[in-house]
Each structure stands twice: as structure tokens, then as C-alpha cells.
Symmetry: C2
Amino acid sequence: MSFSPPFESMQYLMRHAVDLDRILASGDYTDVSDDLIGDILGGAAQFASDIMAPLNRTGDQNPAQIEDGNVIASPGFQELYQSWVESGWQSLAIGKSHGGMGLPQIVNAAAAEMFYGANMAFGLCPMLTSSAVKAISAHGSDELKSVYLDKMVTGEWSGAMDLTEPQAGSDLGPVRTRAVDNGDGTYALTGQKIYITWGDHDCADNIVHLVLARLPHAPAGSKGISLFLCPKYLVNEDGSPGVRNSFKPIGLEHKLGINGSPTCVMEFDGATGWLVGLENRGLACMFTMMNEARLFVGVQGVAIGERAYQQALQYAHDRVQGRVIDGEAEAPIIGHPDVRRMLLEMKTRLMGARAICMATAAAGDLGDYTREALLTPIAKAYGSDVGVETTSIGVQIHGGMGFVEETGAAQHYRDSRIAPIYEGTNGIQAIDLVVRKLRRDGGEGMRVLVAEIDAVPDSVRAVGTPDMSLQAPALAKGVEVLKTATDIILNASEKDALTGATPYLRLCGDVISGVLLIKSAVNGFRARDPHAPNMLALAAYHTAAILPHAEAQLDLIRAGASAVFDYPVDRLADL
Amino acid sequence: MSFSPPFESMQYLMRHAVDLDRILASGDYTDVSDDLIGDILGGAAQFASDIMAPLNRTGDQNPAQIEDGNVIASPGFQELYQSWVESGWQSLAIGKSHGGMGLPQIVNAAAAEMFYGANMAFGLCPMLTSSAVKAISAHGSDELKSVYLDKMVTGEWSGAMDLTEPQAGSDLGPVRTRAVDNGDGTYALTGQKIYITWGDHDCADNIVHLVLARLPHAPAGSKGISLFLCPKYLVNEDGSPGVRNSFKPIGLEHKLGINGSPTCVMEFDGATGWLVGLENRGLACMFTMMNEARLFVGVQGVAIGERAYQQALQYAHDRVQGRVIDGEAEAPIIGHPDVRRMLLEMKTRLMGARAICMATAAAGDLGDYTREALLTPIAKAYGSDVGVETTSIGVQIHGGMGFVEETGAAQHYRDSRIAPIYEGTNGIQAIDLVVRKLRRDGGEGMRVLVAEIDAVPDSVRAVGTPDMSLQAPALAKGVEVLKTATDIILNASEKDALTGATPYLRLCGDVISGVLLIKSAVNGFRARDPHAPNMLALAAYHTAAILPHAEAQLDLIRAGASAVFDYPVDRLADL
């Protein structure tokens, strides 16, 4: 099944949903032109379609294997990785100061969607390398930077994040892996880490692990965790990989999806590591990359959903079954209203979630870090939920063919399911949104956002033509609902607020995605963009089918903790 | 992971959501006592938990194999099937006139939920046998009945349904398998059938296939299809299985889930068959069983969802992570508001969908076939959708452990995904609801149902205590929404109605499930049932979290076809 990234959609959103011109005019990106972005994204689309996409199913059907403490990646992945490095894509998402291309984050996000859509399991490896580069750049010593960064920016060496342990997942406080000072500037790490994505493989010449561990006498809990760099191969004086370090993969998880991505259990047996950042401040170092990683997981949801959409669309064009309502002969199922509805539902949800991811990236590009922080958990959770929902519709459009693995629709459904879980479950995102991003600043960041989108319905009315007389009031209602919900959460007890956190995040996603689609339709009409009528059709579907569900979240947000704690815990098993 | 069917919940719904006493007092079931039902369901629960459930994962991890034209079932399934037959469970769901136990359908539905929850892949085999028994009983000649029925009612011989062909799925009109009259009362069948569930296996002594095929000179399309009985082994004079018939499995599908159920490609090569019913009336014969089969697929959704719920509940009790809001020490995640919310969401959705399935069964038991026909597509689609949604939440509660196959949470997620697809996709159910069940009788059946549930808010107010001052108006609003939506669909053009069909079905499911939960809470309080307060807590959650989404469906139902056909079909690929 071929895959072709939605290039026009991305460019449209960059121009009309977020303000690419303003980003390019800002200090950081004055040497980046619109044309350059077009060229880069065109190249990324081609690499994604031609080189990455064909191996997506190979990875799924032939997961990595472990042999004698070494992971052998899926067939063809070694060559694919080589092409990746040679084509220079690794440096795309890395800032200039770290030796990367220094493009705006919205461009990175668009390219990332292309790569993940083509081959999400593979794409995780470069993502982890980028994150590790950022952490080392921000917190590593000059020596660590000089030894590791150059090789990682090209992708010759890859990165891995070793956080989770069996008893320490969502809460990293109970991390037990021990680090002991060797007295020579290095530390010896001992312990077991699980769920280490691309923790070992045979694609890169070295793998640079960032490992959370606890020093002797460190405070208990999350304030006693430090971050260490452990390379798979210790680095020789000349910069080449030397002897193997004392840690290795001892198992691979058998997973629901992303089978092309080896998920390792790693055993550290006195492994040599170097401290990154300050002692006991390891979690803070990790959080440096967290926001970006979370945005990119939201992008993954959109990416897999987009791939599932393209496949379902093709199937709907090809599959002949039944008579369409105004025809006599048997016809492709795309003519059936319910199939068309499913396609529009997928397309609109994906476009809305994509717009939220872009708005998050754009906030960072414009230096509006409050906005970026506020939108990040929404982008991560909403984007990943939309991924699961749309891949499920993709299966459904295929009918029985969707349930057999042969077509590949089921792979997208399986692959997408990880995104609501990793990089902080979507429940954690909702808590982050409500507690850290909303209540901590008394709702100031959200008030600014709401004030801004509050003007959108008026701008819709001002356009006059085409007729948006249905969309403007629906949107105004949605914004009103967002304000009401925000007030409820701000004034609620913490327990009530936490109970309403997920419905609130969903409400935010439904309203903000609708606002962005309508805004981009309006801006498109103003700029006489030929695609504007199509964006308006999506926005119209959104206001009819998606936006009304925002209001439906209010009752539970209002009800708070009693709605779920009134049911006695000891009777949950039956009645 | 152990499984224990929700016995109390089922009994509560039978008493207070549907009227078991009235069913037992009706002519057909006067010899069935409440105690007998309790004994039977108790036995079914035990068989499900002890015998069926332990092999659920075995079947998933060790799918059936095909060797030399014979399917070898998953390890242990042969012995399990033997126990099934010896314990007499096959006859449970079969009417007295056909040699079965003749229990009300609500009891069958409850037992079926237990069996499917324990091992859905296995449970499909007995389901198909029951369906085949019904078709042969209703349409077969006396000779066919005497040769096949006795052995099938015990389960010694199993049944299979051979409908689908590559070009004939949702629309069976294009079926191409040919049947030629042999001139001796038999026919020779030639062609290929796909997606044949339990089409071959080594558990039963014979397998009785009901096959759709086309006679020479039959009219084109669905009015030229006849039904034939083809046994795997031709039956000797003494009733024993004789020589192998000329058809065989030539492949097994590699599926997303229900791996313990062999899904066969069957090749008929002049196979000997007997006509069932009249020539060219094969589809009508199939429809005899369709309603029941559809109800049972809805039950499957609830069953798998329930199993996923139990597993998630256990995990939430066991998994220690983070501090709960009013505690200092690390605590099980069940104390976290968002985890509790997810559990309540699962439990309430499942209870609501279960109530709809029971109401469907009860309508049949009471001879209200209009009601049964109206509720069947809702039970099938809503039940199966709820299955997918709740198993997804089950994965989410497990966090990273939900994505690895080891825990089993992912299996439920995979298994559940078939139910919205087979026995008529949920899109087909929505069309059936809107076109055949609603518009064909001008909405009369729905009007009667709505008039009945319209009285529920008043009965809630009349109870007085406990306080349902929040639920009564929410419910009244829900019923109003159902009326409004019904009027829109009745007055819409066919294309508009078909576009709104799925949202309308969902709306019906959300409202009717809410009505049934509240009604059962009210009835429970009146009967001083000790579980009534818990049912009220679920009903309260439903009115806060689920019912409000019904109203959110109205805008799309109102918008109709333009909402999805306005977007140009040739721009669906990008923008």
C-alpha cells in the first residue's frame, strides 16, 4: 500500500492556521525562506514515500530479534537507517546551535508526520536520537558534547532513553538503578530498565543511552534521581567506538504494535556512565526534552491516522459492493453515505489534530512558551486519541478485509495504540494540563488563548461570503463552553479537577481544533487560496459532528469526583 | 488472568431493567422458575470460569493450523469442545421444539455473555451450530431434520455458515458459487467461500455447512440465491459420518484477533448438497437467523468488554504507582481520580449495553417482534462499539503493560474489533435501523418505545427518595432528543437519512441505555434490592458522562448528506 504525505494540507495549515510568515520574519529564522521549506518538505515526502513506507509492513511482520546480547533489527532496516543518515534527515529537527539545520519546529513537525506516517516503528529511533542530542546539549559537560554530539547529529550514533523500571513508570520516583562514583569522573550503573525503545540494534555504530539512576545517599523519590550517559561502546581517544560497555539487552517485548521498533529490557551491570547535569536533578534534565517529545507523539497519532485514512480512501474507491443510492449498477462503496461520513470523520479529525500540533510548534517558534506549554498536553493526548479513533474507522471501512492482517489496516490500528500510553499516558497529560498548565497560573495562559480565539467567530461573520452563518454561532458556542469548563476547573477542589481532567482536555481539543479549522478557512478565503472551500467543508463537518461533543463534556466536569467515587470501590467487581 | 461473570449484574437487570417475572408468567415459560434460571446461570458461570477461560490465551497464542485439507484446532480446544458437549450447554440456546432446553432468550443472552467473555473465539463454534439448527428447523425438509438436528442440538456435530465470497460481502447479491441439480435430490456445489468461521476443525465428528449458491438460470442478484446443506462427511444410512464430501478448507486467515477461531477459505468442488427451503429464497432463510445472530454479536461486545474491565480493575487494585490525592504513601492506582473515572466509564457503558441486549431478548420472549426488530440493530452495533471502546480503555488503564501482549489486555482489544464488522457491519445495522425498522413503518415501533420510556422520568420523580433531581431532567432531555432525532430521520430524504444513520443509532443507544439503567435503579429501590444504590450511581454517571453526547449527534443528523458530500470526492486524498 503506497503512502503519500498530505503535502498540500500541511502547507495550507502552515499558512492559514498558524502564521508561517510571522515565524519566518522573526529573528531566529530570517534565513529560512518559504521556498526552502517547500523543498525540504518535498524531499521529506519523497524519502518517506519511496524509502521508508515500503518497509513498514516488513517491520511489523518481522520484528527485531535478540541474539547473544545483540539486537538484530528487522530486515532492511539497517539499509534504511544508512539511507536516513546519508540523506541528512537526522539534522532536520536539530537546532543550529547543536549543529542541525535550525528550522522552525512547525517544519520539523510536518516532516515528522511524513516520516511517522511512512514508518512509525523506524521513526522512533531518530526521534530518540534528537531528544538525546537536546538533553546532552542542554545539560552535558563540554567534554560529553564534544565526544558525542557530532556523531549523533548526523545519526551515525543513535540515542536511547532509559527511564522506566518495573516499579517506576508514570511515577519515576521509585527508580532503583544505582550509580556509584568511580572516583575518576565516571560512575558505575547497576539495575534493570524496561520498555527501552531502540535500546539496542545493529543499525548505528554506537548507541548513546541516557539513564536515570540513584546515587548513594540520594534523597528518596523523584528528587534523588540523576541522569547518566552510557554509550553502548566506550569511545576511544580518536573518537571511534571501543570496547563494549557493561550493559546489554536481555529481552525484547512482544507487543501489540510498532513491531519494527525493538523494545528492550536492559540490564546494567556496573556499566560506565557520565553524569549529565547536576546530581539529583535528573528528572529536570529529562523534562527539557519532554515537551518536544510529547508534541511529537501527538504528531505520531495524526501520522498513523493519516496513513490509515489514505488506505481506507483507496479501498473505498476500489471496493465495489452494493448499489449507491442514486445509481442502478454496483458501485464503489465511496458512494455510500455512511462510508463517505466515515472518511470525512477521519479527515476532519486528523486535520483538526494536525492543526493543534502545528499551533503548539508555532507557539514555540514564536517564543510563546506559556502557550506552547499549555498546548503540549492537548497536542499529545488529543493527537494520539485521534490516531486510535481514526485507525479504528479505517479498519471499519475495510469491513472483513480490515480484520485480516493481509491488508495492513489492522497494523495501523495496532501501531497507533501506543501513542496514548508512552511519553506520559494521556491521563498524565490531562493532569499536567489541569494542574500545572491551568491552575498553577490561575488560568492566565488559557485566558489569553481564549481571548484570542474568542475573536474568531466575529472574523467568520466579517468574511460575509461564503456563508458561514451556521459555523459562526456553533463556534461561538464552543468558545463559550471552553470558558465555562475552564472556570469550573479553576474553581474546583483538586480532586474534582482531577476527575474532570480528561473530559476537559478532550473538550479543549474539540474546541481548539474547530477554531483552527475555521480560522484557517477564513484566512484562506482572504488570501484567495484555492483550497479554502475544501477547508471550509471540513470546518463545516467539524461544527456539525465534532464541536457539539465539547458541550457534552460539561456535565461530568461539573459533577467532579462524586460522579466516580460515589460508586463503592468494593462493589466494582460486580454490582 | 481469572474471569468471573458478573452474575449479580445480570440478575439485577433481568429483574429490574426487563421484566423477568412477566416473561416467566407468559405461556411459553411457565415451567421455568426463577430458581432454575439461577441454577443454570450459576452452572454456566462456573463452566465459563473454570473450563473455558483458561484456554482463551492459548487460542490467541496458538491459532489453529491447516494440514492436508484439515484444520487442527488450538491446543486444548478438542478437549474443551468435548466438555462443552458432555455438559449439555449446546442445547441451552435452542428451543424446545428443536430438542433444546427452551429457556427465555434473556437467559440465553446472559449465558452467552458468560461464555463469550470466557473464550469468545471458542464460543463462536457453538453459536454457529445454534444458528444452523434454527435454519434447518425452520426451512429444512423432514429428512434433513431427522438426519442432522439431533446430533447438532447436542453439539456432536457443529454448524458453519458459508455466505461470503470475495466479491460478495455486505451485499450477497453477487454470490457466484454454482449449484447444479444432480437429479437425485442432491445438488453439486462448486465455488469458493471466504471468512468461514469454524469452517473446519477437529473438535466435532461432522461439520454441517449451510451454503449460499446460485442455481442455473436463477435470477441475477439476491433474488437468485438458494441455500444448501453440505456436510463435511456424507452421512451413512445408520446416521454415522461416512465418506468425505468434495469440499475442504484451502487456507486460514491471519487475523487481528479471535485467533482461536479458525477462519477458513473453503473450496467447493462439486460438493454434494441438499436444498434448504425454496429455490432462490436462500437469503430469506438466512435472515431467519440473522436477528438472533446480530443480538449475540452485540452480546459479544459486552462480554469482551466485561472481561477487559475485570482485568483492568484487578490491575488497578494491584498496580502501585504515585501518591493518591489524599494520601502520603504510594498507593494502588485505583485511588487516582482519572483511573477511577476510566473504570466507571467502562462499567457504565457495559451495563448500559448489556441492558439493551437484554431488552432486545426480552422483547422476543414477550412476543413483541416489532420491538425486537427495532432494538436488534441497536444491540448489535452499540454493544459491539462499546466492546471496542471499553477494551481500549482497558489497555489504557494498564499503561505500558497494556501494550505488551503478555498481560492479555491487548488480546481483548484485538478480539473485540471483529464484532462491529461481522454479521453485517455496524454501518449496515444503522441502515437497517433507519430504513427498515424506522422509516418503513413510519416510525410506529419507535413511537411506541419512546412513549414507554417517556414515562420513566416521571417515575423517577415519583420515587422521591433517593434524590434523583439531577437525573430526571437529564433523562427527560435525552428522551426529547430521541424524539427530535426520530422526527428528523423520518422526514429526511433517503440520502440525508442514510448519512445520519450511524449518529442516529449511536444516539438511540446512548438514550435507551440511560433510560434502562435509571429505570432499573428506580425499580430496584421499589423492590428494596440492596444493589439499587449502586445501579443508581451508575445511572448517575451515565446521565453526567454519556447521555449528554446524544444531543451532540443532532447537528449532524440535521445537516444530512451535504455535511459529507459537500467536500469534493476528487480532493479527498489531500486538500
